[in-house]
């Protein structure tokens, strides 16, 4: 066993005798395209709505609540799906989030929210986690589509324009501070500071 390992180790580090450097470099390059592309394709697949609702937990609870909202259906058909809000778009943070998501696989295996009752019991905890995340990254996932610099306050209702042109522009508040419960139902909000 040890002998065999040692053989492969040496094989790996010895200069190649029969294959040219060109083949090795080109082969490595092409294989790289396939592996890297495959990796990204698989990761992108886990970002689709279809993948998210393939679990009963997601389909029966949060997805049903999303369906009524303007982020799911609206007159122009521009929409946000699960990953648009719950997964960062930038690559580094996306991979970090995907690693965190291994806990969701754990939850799926052990059925932590596989009944409406269990989901209800954890609703506040789950919501608070997302609120914290969006507070920490200045509502990055909102801003991927809702770009503050291009908001026309004159098109907004006076109250919205007032809030956006003061607290939001000054950085005192971020989107999620006011816009909670826009895609899923709110938990029991007792004790939550509302702006």
């Amino acid at each position: 066993m040890i002998e065999r390992l040692r053989y492969f180790w040496r094989l790996l580090w010895r200069p190649s005798v029969h294959i040219s450097l060109g083949v090795l470099v080109l082969g490595g390059f092409i294989a790289g395209i396939f592996f890297w592309g495959g990796f990204n394709t698989a990761m992108e697949y886990t970002n689709t709505e279809q993948f998210c609702v393939s679990c009963h937990e997601m389909e029966a609870n949060p997805f049903e609540e999303l369906k009524a909202t303007v982020h799911y259906t609206n007159r122009s058909g521009v929409r946000a799906t699960c990953s648009d809000c719950h997964v960062p778009h930038g690559w580094t943070h996306k991979v970090a989030r995907k690693m965190e998501a291994s806990k969701e696989v754990w939850g799926w295996i052990f059925g932590t929210i596989n009944t409406p009752e269990k989901y209800e019991a954890k609703r506040r905890e789950l919501a608070e986690r997302e609120w914290r995340r969006l507070e920490a990254n200045d509502s990055l996932e909102c801003r991927n589509c809702h770009q503050f610099d291009f908001m026309d306050f004159t098109e907004q209702k006076p109250r919205a324009a007032q809030a956006h042109s003061t607290a939001l522009v000054g950085g005192d508040a971020t989107c999620i501070d006011c816009h909670k419960g826009i895609a899923h139902e709110l938990p029991d909000m007792s004790g939550v500071h509302q702006r």
Binding site: T69, P158, D188
Partner: protein, 159 residues
């Protein structure tokens, strides 16, 4: 000969039967909220009415009329966990939000005792308050506001 005649009769009966079956009756269907047409017709429903968004509040037609909602309330969550309307219309939030506070009657319990928070009796806003749409009335009605009623009384008194 006998089999020929019986075959003829059978054929005749079959043809008449087919003819009768082909003549499917299509009686008129009653008009409901949409036009009925006939039994086999499926007519289009009228288009879904649009919500009327108004700046400011609307006049009440009589003193106790629950004020109508002059804005869209799409996706507003009003349930045991949370009341989205109260995000702006609650006692604490109303001044900052620039929204009218829910009236004092909403804080009374069934014994007219005023409580600190909105009474559960009055918690579900859309039981009385509704948003406005541009829909035509489904049936004509002779509703008159309290002012119109009073004007008519005065005019009759003069006569």
């Amino acid at each position: 000969m006998k089999w020929l005649s019986s075959a003829c009769i059978l054929l005749l009966v079959a043809i008449i039967g087919i003819a009768v079956a082909d003549e499917r009756p299509d009686p008129p269907a009653p008009d409901g909220l949409r036009a009925g047409g006939t039994f086999s017709q499926t007519l289009d429903a009228p288009p879904i009415a649009r919500v009327v968004e108004k700046r400011g509040r609307m006049e009440r037609n009589w003193p106790e009329q629950p004020p109508v909602i002059p804005h869209s309330i799409r996706d507003y969550q009003v349930d045991k966990r949370h009341n989205r309307c109260l995000d702006c219309h609650s006692r604490e939030a109303a001044p900052r939000a620039g929204a009218p506070m829910v009236s004092i009657t909403h804080f009374m319990d069934r014994d007219k005792q005023v409580r600190a928070a909105v009474s559960p009796d009055r918690y579900f806003c859309t039981q009385c308050h509704v948003e406005q749409t541009d829909a035509e009335p489904l049936v004509q009605n002779r509703f008159r506001t309290v002012d119109q009623v009073l004007q008519d009384l005065v005019r009759e008194g003069r006569r």
